[in-house]
């Protein structure tokens, strides 16, 4: 009897804490929106963050996109060739990248590359009491620290995802057409016939915006609530990656079932 009660107590406590976490996350979001106007007055801050989260992520995004595209080309060719329709490789590569892999893999890399950096930076600022110092000087940490990083993530993520899809398709082209020797014209024309701008490309872009929002907000929130110790910051950084990745994969399923069914 006591065991059962304990179980329900733990369940209740975890549900309550995750709900309150969600609540303060939403509160952080609204605060960010309110202070955005203030932070846009010094847009350099946002530009600096775009450089940090976007431009410096370009290398890892481009390299992984090219390899993902090449692997898709190889594996897709292996299966499609059995049905004598190896020209459809262009459609396969493009749809897989534009609809799913582009936004999802970019978001996972983004969470690992930029999200952890945001969490660690804000967590350390909190640990060294820089945030409190700002409040003492009547500088809002939300306007000065949080909002620029939030908007930088929101802007960088769709751009990175689009670049990922494009480079991935070029990777698929490299393998399928230049190495294996699938017909060049059929590769592109079948792709163009079957990839719809509104249903596929725009929906993929919407996905990447949602993922950018999720990853950035989680990273910011984890940084702000991290216990001000070395251990706390390291835990928060780990949490950022785990929670971001799981939310991206879960959200991807939900979005896909809304968009493409």
């Amino acid at each position: 009897m006591n065991n059962i009660l304990n179980f329900f107590e733990k369940l209740g406590a975890s549900a309550r804490s995750s709900l309150s976490g969600l609540g303060s996350c939403a509160r952080l979001f609204f605060l960010t929106i309110i202070y955005s106007a203030d932070s846009f007055k010094r847009f350099n801050l946002t530009i600096k963050e775009i450089y940090f989260t976007g431009v410096l992520s370009l290398v890892i995004i481009i390299v992984s996109a090219f390899f993902v595209g090449m692997v898709l080309g190889l594996q897709g060719y292996y299966t499609l060739e059995k049905y004598g329709s190896s020209e459809a490789i262009g459609v396969l590569v493009a749809l897989a990248l534009v609809r799913e892999l582009g936004p999802v893999v970019t978001a996972l890399l983004f969470a690992g590359r930029a999200g952890t950096a945001i969490t660690a930076e804000i967590g350390l600022m909190k640990t060294t009491e820089q945030l409190s110092a700002m409040e003492m000087m009547a500088v809002s940490p939300v306007a000065r620290i949080v909002a620029p990083r939030f908007w930088a993530g929101m802007i960088s993520m769709p751009i990175l995802a689009t670049i990922f899809s494009m480079v991935g398709i070029l990777g698929g082209y490299f393998i399928a057409v230049l190495i294996i020797g699938v017909d060049d014209g059929a590769f592109w024309s079948q792709m163009q016939a079957n990839v719809d701008f509104h249903n596929d490309i725009v929906d993929g872009a919407i996905k990447s915006i949602v993922f950018g929002f999720t990853c950035t907000l989680i990273a910011l929130y984890q940084g702000l609530v991290a216990p001000p110790t070395a251990e706390g910051v390291s835990r928060a950084t780990t949490k950022t990656v785990v929670i971001s990745s799981l939310s991206v994969l879960g959200l991807d399923f939900v979005l896909t079932s809304f968009m493409f069914v």
Partner: protein
């Protein structure tokens, strides 16, 4: 100096994003090609539309001249009513044939228009009278089996 360099990099980044989007829209997607703008709508009745779907291609001599608008079932006459949007640039005689074909062996189905010889052209809201249903493989096979079974009977009589 530091700031200018930063701005340049961010500018390159954003420009790359725009180029990528543009590239996807034109080279990968079909935003620019076969987008039929001004159309007029005609109707056609089919007993069986097979796998024809809204937004499927309407072709004449293999060239895309329009898109399927909507497909509904008429519960009183018991047939499918297919609305066809044809590009304004093309006009077809009133005795045009509308056939449902399949692209390739396993491809998707499209509507093919074969022009007739009439002097009067189809107008918006007109009905295409001559239609041919989609071919159902099972029907074909059963017909074939029935016919070959009949041949065997004939041989037995001899």
């Amino acid at each position: 100096m530091e700031r200018v360099k930063l701005d340049i990099w961010v500018g390159i980044f954003v420009a790359l994003g725009i180029i990528a989007m543009f590239y996807m829209a034109t080279r990968v997607g079909n935003l620019t090609s076969n987008d039929v703008k001004k159309t007029y709508e005609v109707k056609a009745y089919f007993e069986n539309i097979g796998g024809l779907k809204p937004r499927a291609a309407v072709k004449a001599s293999g060239v895309v001249v329009g898109r399927i608008g909507s497909i509904v079932f008429d519960p009183e006459a018991f047939h499918a009513v297919v609305k066809i949007n044809i590009d304004e640039r093309y006009s077809f005689p009133t005795d045009t044939f509308a056939n449902i074909y399949t692209a390739g062996l396993l491809g998707e189905q499209y509507l093919s228009l074969e022009a007739g010889g009439d002097d009067v052209n189809l107008k918006a809201g007109d009905l295409i009278v001559h239609t041919q249903d989609a071919v159902v493989l099972e029907k074909l096979i059963s017909q074939f089996l029935y016919n070959s079974a009949g041949e065997d009977d004939d041989k037995d009589k001899d």
